[in-house]
Assembly symmetry: C2
Homo-oligomer: 398 residues x 2
């Protein structure tokens, strides 16, 4: 019974703080940190059941939906993606995934593992899909489900969803939308856009730590789950069972991640206190300032202007700038994290996120000042102070 291996005791946790301006996680809001220090409650304590109900009701408001099945999956955003696919798809069923980036590709991979017959509609990274094209795809393929990404985290491109719901209904197709990088930053109007299922994460627009995947499922998708001929392959992600715990029945399924729910509840309170429209406008304003600064520095972003997300900017690296060394300097000298590129854009873009709490002028100024210094030292000449000045001009005029 005695201990036989040496004890590799680590020291006290004490990392150098960073400013997280990459594709997520962003920094937690201080009130979220405080909420996480609340003592644990049992997962069936009446007080916790009330906290769950409040969290769900606020989540519905943020998703702009009345969907009863609206809850956080006990996993990160990718777990939310898997929960949607594994419940909505049965093996052999046809689905279409529209992909123009890394996270669209992830949905393709997951749908395949669910046993679906997957039709992949590919677009160049940084581009988006027009409604007309989606109509042609649906006409040709007649899938059970169409999956698409609202805010592609690998490219910073915004995909318009607003017309896709009615289109999908015309063809009796379920519309599944990846809102991982949109929720809390740009509008997600689940009911108005007739989205059948959507999922997100906790660590971007909601400024919580990573670990939960808020999601919502509408009546048509619920009906598809009810009509399944085979059990859902995942016990952990079975939405019918999760709904029995989160819904009126309160049947124990798995132990909810209590502290993460506290965090999400606080993150949602912050969103609703600010107001959705004010929050979206704030993201737009800080994005305009950042974009003005980037242009003044002579930089451009990957996505076309009309579909540039306010919360995520994939900056194309100028010739001669070393990706890894540059990001290392940003991290070590300036304490700023930005994201590297993914897939074909690995080494070619830096992804700058201004999400939730971190969409604020001080973040814009810090990252522009640091970029100018690092790029200048790589031989890419930026006019001194030009980035910050351009951002200041935007703030002054709006």
């Amino acid at each position: 019974m005695s201990t036989v291996l040496p004890s590799p005791l680590a020291g006290q946790l004490n990392p150098v703080p960073r400013l997280l301006l990459g594709p997520g996680p962003g920094d937690m809001h201080p009130r979220v940190i405080a909420a996480m220090t609340t003592p644990l409650l049992g997962h069936l304590d009446p007080q916790f059941l009330l906290i769950m109900a409040e969290t769900q009701e606020m989540l519905r408001a943020v998703f702009q939906t009345r969907n009863e099945l609206t809850l956080p999956i006990s996993a990160t955003g990718s777990g939310g993606m898997e929960a949607c696919l594994v419940n909505l798809i049965e093996p052999g069923e046809r689905v279409v995934i529209c992909t123009a980036g890394y996270f669209g590709d992830r949905m393709v991979e997951m749908a395949r593992r669910c046993g679906a017959e997957v039709h992949v509609e590919q677009e160049r990274w940084g581009q988006t899909f027009a409604a007309d094209r989606i109509r042609q795809i649906l006409q040709r393929t007649r899938p059970k489900l169409l999956g698409i990404v609202n805010a592609e985290t690998s490219t910073g491109a915004w995909q318009d969803i607003s017309e896709l719901g009615p289109l999908c209904r015309e063809f009796d197709t379920l519309l599944l939308v990846d809102c991982v990088t949109s929720l809390g930053c740009t509008p997600v109007n689940v009911d108005a856009w007739q989205i059948d299922a959507a999922f997100s994460c906790s660590q971007k627009g909601l400024s919580c730590p990573p670990g939960l995947a808020p999601m919502t499922v509408g009546p048509r998708a619920m009906e598809a789950i009810r009509r399944r001929k085979t059990p859902v392959r995942s016990w952990y992600l079975d939405l019918t069972a999760l709904h029995s715990y989160w819904g009126a029945e309160r049947v124990y399924h798995h132990t909810a991640p209590i502290t993460m729910v506290y965090a999400l509840r606080e993150g949602l309170r912050l969103v609703l206190e600010e107001g959705l429209d004010a929050r979206f406008a704030r993201h737009q304003r800080n994005a305009r300032a950042l974009q003005a600064g980037l242009q003044a520095l002579g930089l451009r972003t990957l996505a076309d202007e009309h579909c540039q997300l306010p919360q995520l900017h994939a900056v194309v690296l100028p010739e001669g700038v070393n990706d890894v060394q540059g990001r290392k300097r940003l991290l070590e000298e300036f304490g700023i994290e930005v994201g590297g590129g993914l897939g074909e854009y690995k080494g070619r873009v830096w992804r700058i996120g201004l999400m939730g709490y971190n969409s604020r002028p001080s973040c814009v100024f810090q990252v522009l000042a640091a970029l100018e210094k690092v790029l200048n030292d790589c031989g890419f000449k930026c006019s001194p102070g030009s980035g910050v000045a351009a951002a200041e001009a935007v703030y002054a005029s709006s």
Copy 2:
């Protein structure tokens, strides 16, 4: 774009604190709470990669293993169970699950959803399986995998695992052990017992919040994963991909739940600072005091004495004591949560947990004093102060 639904803003989080003496979660250790207030790092930050490595190394010490693939799954304990099963089993393969309680049954259900041909070996709740019987089962069934629960959370029964590893090797069977309620409370000697895969949770013996499932996979199980003919059905729980992120390659898979990893790291530090043997002895001592107190009150527990877990005690309710009302009084008047019964023992037992941080004399005294009061008021006469006095006598003599 404008907000159309009313804003259901909840008030500030402010629950009445509880003492969590049920089957888990237990209370967080104060140092775990403090660790969670550490600012976020990015999931690819060199500082976080070091924190991951330290956490893994400490986890190996707590699991008593040198297994390289030792990491926390980004899900609760049930997610760890599913991760093991979905990676180790391919559809159509034969497995045996030994069950003598609710969580054994859960493993049966999950294995079925993985497409396995499941042979269920059932024992009466509260009982355990002798090695001889396991040998007969293996001889008869020759399964790819045998699944069994080390500490059955529904009954408080301890299943001896120490002889099962060599037995399973004899029949070329993988041994999967549910250590959800054992890790950090009673010995889990993965290498010495030749366990091929084991999983646990964060919120019991490790005194962290729920949300992570520490697990470890040995070389024989790794080989079985390598030899799979079909891809793992779950993308999120694919151990090969998770190993690429947690291992030397550091390939991004999903965003790790940073704050939960901070918590786990601190929980593991506390275990190793105390020392495994001292920690197990502490659990035994407090269990002896609790059991002496229960007996003095005229109560008995479900599991046989030789297999009674020190960390969980399923107290059989005396005639005339109303389960729901009694637990409500414990919760509301004494601020103590104990667990109700599951399955056939619903309404018939209360489950008292003394796990990790909460395995301490003050918890023992509080729960005995409260039990005496509540049971007396239900007409079950306990001699005043007898439970606490019996516990005190145990502490005085050891």
